[in-house]
């Protein structure tokens, strides 16, 4: 690194900003204490990497920025960095997310805190690189082989891109797990006003260690039986990590009892603390007869449609998911069962699966595959029952 450009910049650019979702993600990561970014260029996520290339090595307490040779290297470098007790992340899009899947499985099994931002574009394969889609909802849950669950958050505006990225870092540190942030091409380039708060106004969580096994998140103590204190490399204790089945000390144990215990604990630690994850936005659903279920930038269009339907006297509402996995099944049953439901997404049918499964009723669907958010008029007509 040439020394002449190393002018120390502030890590947190507190104050109002007018910029894109990708910018907000990058700044949120710096806010949360990001220390390692490892990535590979892929549209439309590249600007997150470019922003961090120009910031991360030059801020106070600088971090490591590295462009790897592919996405497999990116995700595994993130895992390596995280095991040195540093917050690490990567950002990618469809094809890159597919390449990362094995690493993601490894991260869940070795309980590695990290954040992956997936800026969704049209797939499969190269698909629509510069247009939005929401086709990685299932991949976020079932992409890697084996049973696992990765907490998955979905913002729908630039402020949320900032807020949920910080939530993602906190969740990953508190629960020792990878966390996904699913944005899309629209959010990546959409510019909006958003606020970066002062550093002291936001809680940041750091993972537990053998010396400090008890950590709290949002006022709640995280059980050290569910989330084991993390031995990291470069510390006095001996750290060991493996993708094989292992006991609580991290050592290989392929016995039936150990494997079952481990698998149950990994699931349990996510489900136990899911009430701390971002809550869904419920817009005018109390008296609504028809509720649109959506997430991400699709929900912006859906909200507009709900407002226009309301103007016509139709009792419509919007249920917007902010945490996709684990699916907020209890809340959705309590809030929506019995109402007329329309699931709107930029996919031929992924969000509709969990909604149907948990509500156990007929659900109407708009699966929009035209490389943009479904227009409000289309959703409004569906609400009105015109088509």
């Amino acid at each position: 690194m040439s020394e002449n450009k190393l002018v120390e910049e502030p890590r947190v650019l507190a104050g109002p900003q007018f910029n894109s979702g990708n910018f907000a993600v990058a700044e949120a990561a710096l806010f949360a204490g990001l220390h390692g970014y490892f990535g590979y260029p892929i549209t439309p996520s590249t600007t997150i990497m470019e922003r961090l290339a120009s910031r991360l090595p030059y801020v106070e307490k600088p971090g490591a920025f590295l462009q790897a040779e592919d996405e497999i290297a990116s995700i595994t470098a993130v895992i390596g960095c995280s095991w040195t007790r540093n917050k690490a992340m990567t950002a990618t899009s469809g094809p890159g997310f597919s390449l990362m899947q094995e690493g993601i499985g490894l991260a869940t099994f070795t309980e590695t805190p990290l954040v992956v931002v997936n800026v969704m574009r049209g797939g499969p394969s190269t698909g629509l690189p510069t247009f939005p889609a929401q086709q990685e909802l299932m991949q976020a849950h079932f992409g890697s082989h084996g049973d696992y669950m990765v907490p998955t958050f979905a913002p729908n505006n630039v402020q949320e891109c900032f807020d949920l990225t910080i939530e993602a870092f906190n969740a990953s540190e508190a629960l020792r797990t990878p966390v996904f942030v699913l944005t899309d091409q629209i959010l990546s380039t959409l510019k909006e006003r958003f606020l970066i708060p002062k550093k002291e106004n936001i809680e940041l969580v750091n993972r537990s260690s053998p010396d400090n096994p008890h950590i709290t998140w949002k006022g709640e103590t995280i059980s050290s039986n569910l989330v084991l204190p993390m031995n990291c490399f470069g510390e006095e204790s001996k750290a060991f990590a493996t993708g094989l089945s292992h006991d609580d000390t991290g050592h290989v144990d392929l016995s039936a009892d150990t494997y079952e215990l481990l698998m149950n604990r990994l699931k349990e630690k996510i489900l136990t603390y899911q009430h701390l994850f971002p809550k869904p936005e419920k817009y005018l659903i109390d008296d609504a007869d028809t509720v649109v279920v959506a997430y991400g930038s699709t929900a912006r269009s859906a909200k507009y449609a709900v407002n226009s339907a309301r103007k016509k006297g139709i009792k419509a509402g919007l249920y917007r998911l902010r945490t996709i996995w684990p699916f907020p099944k209890d809340d959705i049953i309590q809030s929506l069962r019995g109402k007329r439901i329309i699931v709107v997404e930029m996919s031929s049918g992924q969000l509709i699966w969990p909604v149907e499964r948990y509500l156990k009723q007929d659900v109407e669907h708009i699966g929009y595959l035209r490389g943009s958010v479904p227009p409000p008029s289309l959703i409004r007509k569906k609400i009105e029952g015109v088509n």
Partner: protein
Amino acid sequence: MVKTKELVQIETEIHAIEKGNLACPGCQLNLAFKHSLAALNNNAIVVIPACCTSVIQGAGKGYGMHVPIFNTAFASAPPVASGIARKLKLENKDTQVIVWAGDGGTSDIGFASLSGAAERNEDILYIMYNNQGYQNTGNQKSGATPRGAKTTTTMTGKTSKSKNIARILLAQDVPYVATANAAYPQDLFDKISKAAKEFKGNFRYIEIYSPCPPGWNIDSRNIVKVGKLANETGIWPLWESINGEVTLSKVSRRYLEKTNRKDPFEFFKLQGRFSGVDNDLIQQFMEDVEFEWKWLKKYLK
């Protein structure tokens, strides 16, 4: 070497690249593609991973070439080509299977599969056009970006040496390895023809230097000049290796002698990607160039 007049005639007859092309003004890879397809007489099946070419190959409906093209995933062009080549071999067809890939898809994400295909000596002509970065996504650094060059992910100039894939493939004993330059179409034409005709049945590798106007921040009218200067300053020597015997190509022969080379400043000053870069870094880049020459001299007959 093919005469310029002949080359012009061949290219006028063959029309390797037709209208409806999305290349930037001054794009060198597009010219290189044209010369290469002309040298192959359009008798080729082309596998293209994600790269500039997969975007510029055609606007709207159809595409502007007369060869079948398979656009594949980023890391997988050599295996796709292997699959095609194996089948053609069984049928004894003379059609060439070409991989046409950028430097990112070759030196970074596609490197493992390239090395695998080379080891199996697949019947593939692998052509890497080297525009020294991920120009399709807006100029990020790649393994082939030279030291000192600014990209959006190496804001103050890349600090590590570029990866010399041609040299790596020599270490894998690939029968035909050559470097070329889009600014020297006759030399390029000859190398492609030779690789296609004389080494059919083997793995072959040709690397084409393709300056990129937006990525390297060069005025389009200077683009060929930059390509020529890369040779004349000794920064990009042209050579070929036949069964491990390395020879300098005619256009590069006189630059073996350092005193014949032009001042590299001429080369740097035309490119925005080197402007404002630390002098030490530029110095190191020139040392990298010397290192390559030292290596070349060791192997030259």
